[in-house]
Amino acid sequence: MSKIVRTITNLLTPFILMFGLYVIMHGHITPGGGFQGGAVFASGIALLIVAFNSAKVQEKLKERHLSVIESSGALMFIGLAFAGLGITFFYNFMVGSSIFGQIPPEGSNPGYMWTAGVIPLMNIAVGLKVIAGLSAIVLVMALASSNIRIDE
């Protein structure tokens, strides 16, 4: 792509990625959450692939590293679900404890972030999985369409 596109991409990409992470982290107070923030992040990666060559992106972002991130996000999600198995599966055992455990007052309030127990952690886990998964899909399809060898 031309020099203008590459320069603007260099300026904009950190903001897009930061906005994606913001949407993931504030999923329990504002609209958003794991999948939405992960999709924004992956569209930032797609912008990088379009502006620079997909072979150049592959030098920095390998598909096998993305696979490890994806699996660890999924394991974190299901590990948190298993951790409440003393009472039931998916029980929110962190409400009232010290990590993310504050109980907010009722009614309209300016959102408190350190609340809601297991849910922000599950948002982070799903966000990691979606970031890695959607980026891998976009990267591999870009490489396959231009017949470049994918590093195994």
């Binding site: 096998r64 699996s71 660890s72 394991l75 299901i78 679900a81 298993f82 039931t88 599966f89």
Partner: protein, 521 residues
């Protein structure tokens, strides 16, 4: 041990899911450990389903509320309707669960030797475990939207498995047809779920069944659900994807995709018997399902007789055998409102249909595995080019004979028992249907005899002189299913009294299902 039984509905779904997420990490280190993890996870799931089954036959149905402070607390205080996702396991659900996990275990053992010559093994086992999760989840859940989500998990994993061998040109085509049909069917199911949610503001099956009035919007939703589930289980005239997909699926996964379509059959009957029950016009809907069954039986077997590709032949017979189940249970549905007819032949028809589900999963699975064993050894699926394999592949020939005699309904095999139950009860309902069913059975025997003669008997062909028996894990996987067929053939009354009759009673008993969740409110 008792707490393991209480948590076993969700553990039977969560343990394969955990194993599916562990496999990509483990296979980077060692692939033998990966095989052991897959087999161990499926064996543990089988153990959980069996102890859950024993407890259900002793005490009654189990419910499990995800995320509540006690697992049986379906409706929280000060509420009138359930708000969480509830898994509700009765005798019919656990019957289908036993079938799904057993076939998955046999398929995983069968695929070990097959995957040694393919790349991408970690992705194959991940998809196989996700397919198991989808099947068991669909059978154990008591919530309509949860059923939709597990149906989509099942379709996506099945389509990715069908298109797995990317070096063949037709594998991608078979997978593409499967995913398009599955996606359209699932979106129509979501539309019908939306219709239910818009009217009653509820998503739980028991809660909707309690307040169901049979309005015209509900009739539209029922028709959409019957058509969409018919697309998923390959009943004629929505069957065009089935021969292509079953013939290109790799080893061991054809039986699994087939059992996945039987899970959709279970979902159809759960909706007809429990969600609607006697509030709908069971005579008309029963006749619709009977007509789908008769069309599937007849069209399936008449096209199968002229096939030359062995796996397409097996696929058309799979379509035809699904017709038997639709016929048997459809007759039971048609007389559901009439207590005299239900007691005299309706329950026997439903029992015959349900017994046919498990028999069919066993012998159809065995036949698919033998066809794949022939492809593995010879490298071709065309019957015109095979011949004289009985000399080289003795065990495969024996397994094929057991499977072919069982599917044609020859006594003393288990196919004869379930077909006899269907014939006797359907004859009292309408004699013409029973005669069509017997005719289809004769044509099935003819088709399998022709295939046997082409592939196994005849003079020894010189280009296949070096072919030996298939490797031992494949024989072991086929052997599990063959031993189960022989056990079911020798002791049919034990199987019917222990497993099938409680399932029939649970399917008809709508009031028991509702009161377990709503608690007599």
């Amino acid at each position: 041990m008792q707490s393991l039984v209480i948590h076993s509905p969700i553990l039977a779904i969560a343990v394969p899911l955990l194993a599916a997420f562990l496999i990509p990490l483990i296979s980077k280190f060692n692939s033998k450990v990966r095989n052991i993890v897959v087999i161990a996870a499926l064996a543990f799931t089988e153990f959980l389903v069996l102890i859950l089954a024993r407890d259900i036959y002793a005490t009654g149905l189990h419910i499990y509320t995800l995320g509540a402070s006690a697992s049986t607390l379906a409706i929280p205080e000060n509420f009138m309707v359930p708000v969480r996702i509830i898994l509700e396991v009765d005798a019919m659900s656990v019957f289908m669960g036993i079938i799904s996990v057993t076939v998955s275990l046999a398929a995983a053992i069968y695929s070990i030797s097959f995957m040694k010559q393919e790349t991408g093994g970690s992705k194959f086992y991940t998809l196989l475990l996700l397919l198991t999760v989808g099947m068991v989840g669909m059978e154990f859940t008591g919530d309509l939207f949860n059923m939709f989500v597990f149906l989509e998990i099942l379709s996506i994993s099945g389509a990715a498995l069908a298109a797995f061998r990317t070096r063949f040109a037709d594998a991608s085509e078979g997978g593409f047809k499967y995913i398009v049909i599955s996606a359209v069917g699932a979106l129509l199911i979501l539309f019908a779920i939306g219709i239910f949610y818009g009217q009653y503001n509820l998503l739980n099956i028991a809660a909707i069944a309690k307040v169901m009035q049979y309005t015209s919007l509900d009739k539209i939703a029922l028709v959409i659900l019957i058509v969409a589930f018919g697309m998923k289980l390959a009943s004629v005239p929505m069957h065009m994807w089935a021969p292509d997909t079953y013939s290109v699926a790799p080893a061991g996964t054809s039986p699994m995709i087939y059992v996945a379509s039987q899970a959709c059959l279970y979902a159809l009957f759960r909706i007809c018997f429990t969600l609607f029950g006697v509030t709908m016009d069971t005579g008309t809907i029963g006749w619709i399902i009977i007509m789908l069954g008769v069309l599937s039986m007849f069209v399936g077997v008449t096209v199968a007789v002229q096939q030359t590709d062995i796996k397409r032949l097996m696929a058309y017979h799979a379509i035809s055998q699904s017709g038997y189940m639709l016929l048997g249970i459809g007759v039971g549905l048609a007389v559901l409102a009439d207590p005299v007819a239900l007691a005299s032949y309706g329950k026997a028809a439903i029992s015959g249909g349900i017994f046919h589900i498990i028999n069919n999963a066993l012998y159809k699975g065995l036949l698919f595995l033998t066809a794949e064993a022939l492809f593995f050894s010879l490298g071709t699926r065309d019957l015109n080019r095979m011949g004289g394999m009985a000399r080289n592949m003795k065990y495969t020939t024996i397994f094929y004979i057991i499977g072919a005699l069982a599917i044609s309904g020859i006594p003393p095999f288990n196919g004869f028992t379930s077909k006899l139950m269907i014939y006797e009860s359907v004859y009292q309902f309408s004699p013409l249907l029973a005669i069509i069913a017997m005719l289809v059975s004769i044509l099935t025997l003819a088709s399998f005899t022709k295939a046997f003669q082409s592939a196994f008997t005849g003079p020894a062909l010189p280009q296949y002189g070096h072919v030996t028996e298939v490797p031992r894990p494949m024989l072991f996987g086929m052997g599990i299913l063959a031993v189960l067929i022989i056990f079911f053939s020798l002791f049919p009354s034990i199987v019917v009294n222990t497993i099938v009759t409680p399932a029939t009673d649970a399917l008809i008993n709508q009031a028991g299902y509702i009161s377990a969740v709503m608690g007599g409110l």
